[in-house]
């Protein structure tokens, strides 16, 4: 072993030891300082100022802001956050820097519109963002689809949703089922079935794992809605014919009303409480509108309340 080799090894080891120690100290510093202020800070709140400061490199800056949106949303979503304080301004900034950045409208509107913890629970902000996107990119039929989705599923406004799908269906190259959706919604026909159709279309048209997982979740909830509706019809019919409530699923099975005890898509048995069909664990189905226990209404979540307050203002 030469002396030079010994010296080089000593330097390398010393450097490695010092850098390891500094990384350990940074971890301690992060613990003392916490990371919440970092997540909720919008360094420059004005899109116009940021645009000017970008010195013409606004495209790259928009990409950076969009990355920040994704990281911000992902971090909050993972933590089951109920509030997404800077999501809307971050998206405003991104789309002001690059008005042609379609993913920012498409995904950003979904992030904004869905109920917490799936999103920020602010469907009006989502709709505004997509309208802005349509203004900047009128040739993109997918934006009309996103707008229709928000009006239909989040704002429960089939008339506006139908209008959005109809406008989108007239864009050259629009998917044929845009017209189908517009017609179905305009006629107010089969709400659950239409929603199932819509989410199946989404599942078939995206490779994005998050969106697919969300779509599966939505479809599960819609299946629950559909099953609860059918089961309730059977229970009501049994009650009408026998003049009393059924004692339980066994009685309905033995008398031929059902073939077996019904279970929800997560494998838990549906409950029959005082002639009312309920899911056993409603927290597993955040979007269901039927089968909820008494006192727990559909959409009774902080985001929805906030949305109602916002509507009255």
């Amino acid at each position: 072993m030469t002396r030079d080799w010994q010296v080089q090894t000593t330097y390398a080891l010393l450097l490695a030891a010092l850098l390891t120690a500094s990384a350990a100290l940074v971890r301690q510093l992060d613990r003392v300082r916490g990371d919440e202020p970092l997540q909720e800070v919008l360094y420059i709140p004005s899109p116009a100022v940021v645009r000017r400061m970008s010195l013409g490199y606004s495209g790259l800056l928009a990409d950076i802001y969009w990355t920040r949106v994704v990281q911000y949303f992902g971090t909050k979503h993972r933590a089951n956050a109920k509030q997404y304080l800077i999501l809307e301004p971050l998206l405003e900034m991104t789309t002001a820097l690059d008005p042609k950045l379609l993913p920012a409208y498409e995904f950003g509107s979904v992030f904004l519109a869905q109920k917490p913890p799936e999103g920020a629970g602010n469907p009006w902000a989502g709709a505004r963002l997509v309208e802005k996107g349509i203004q900047e990119n009128p040739q993109s039929w997918r934006l009309y689809y996103d707008l229709g989705y928000i009006y239909w599923l989040e704002l429960k406004d089939p008339a506006r949703a139908a209008d959005a799908f109809d406008r989108g269906s007239k864009v050259p190259g629009a998917h044929p089922w845009m017209r189908v959706m517009a017609a179905a919604l305009a006629a107010h026909a089969g709400e659950t079935e239409t929603a199932i159709y819509m989410w199946t279309n989404i599942l078939n048209s995206t490779e994005d794992p998050e969106l697919r997982a969300n779509g599966m979740n939505r479809l599960r909830c819609l299946r629950v809605d559909s099953e609860v509706k059918l089961l309730q019809e059977r229970v009501d019919e049994f009650t009408r014919q026998n003049g009393r409530l059924p004692g339980g699923w066994e009685e309905l099975i033995s008398s031929g009303w059902l073939r077996r005890a019904p279970v929800d898509p997560k494998g838990n048995a549906y409950q029959l409480v005082g002639g009312r069909v309920q899911v056993a664990r409603p927290e597993l189905f955040p979007f269901i509108t039927r089968g909820l226990p008494p006192g727990r209404e559909a959409g009774d979540m902080p985001g929805e309340k906030g949305f109602k307050v916002m509507q009255t203002q």
Binding site: A12, V26, L29, V32
Partner: protein
Amino acid sequence: MIGRLAAIAYNTFREAVRDRVLYNLILFALLIVGASVLFGQISLEINRIVLINLGLTAISLFGVVIAIFIGIGLVSKEIEKRTLYTVLAARPVRRWEFITGKFLGLVMTLTVNALLMSVGFFAAVMYVSHRLGRGDLQLVTAIYFILLQFVLITALALLFSTFSTPVFSSIFAFAIFAVGTFAEDLRGFSSMATGVTRWMMTGAAYLVPNFAALNVISQVAHDMVVEPKLILLNTAYVLVYTAAVLTAAVWIFERRNLK
């Protein structure tokens, strides 16, 4: 050894003073006096906050700029002027002593500069608040953190100076300072990645200097208390990280052929 280190450090300090580095104090004084008078007239209730933000930011930025512009020339200038070989060959000075001495000399310059600015800064704070209280001790903490910032950036500028030209060294130093101020965001981003990318990003995020934790200016402007644990950890971090950077600088410098 101590005598040699002190001699190199003192010479570096003297050279910086001779280069009229301390002239920035005049600009600082004008800025502070102007701000205290102007904001007192045109703003409502925030003149003290503006003064603290402006004063501490100026102390920090002036120091960082000086640290980088002098730090990048500490070694390369000596090589260019061919004085380095004379120092190392004709006198009993080791290379690591030369690097450490230069580093200490520049830190001394920056400390004196910052202390003089701090005197002016506290005078302005007293003018605006009409008195200095116990709460103003937080301002001392902020200035201490700024000094720690100078220690880090000086070491980094010196490191770049050992292997690169002054122009590139200054670009590297400013870039790493900018990246270091977003170090916490970097660690946040890396935690979102997966697999090998996550490991690589985390490694990079911990490798860059953590300037973010050294900036408590906004905090003290709003009279918020800086935790003693933060002071302790920041001090330990800067000492260890600076030791790492200087080790790398000495290592590179030892391998350079200066003839």
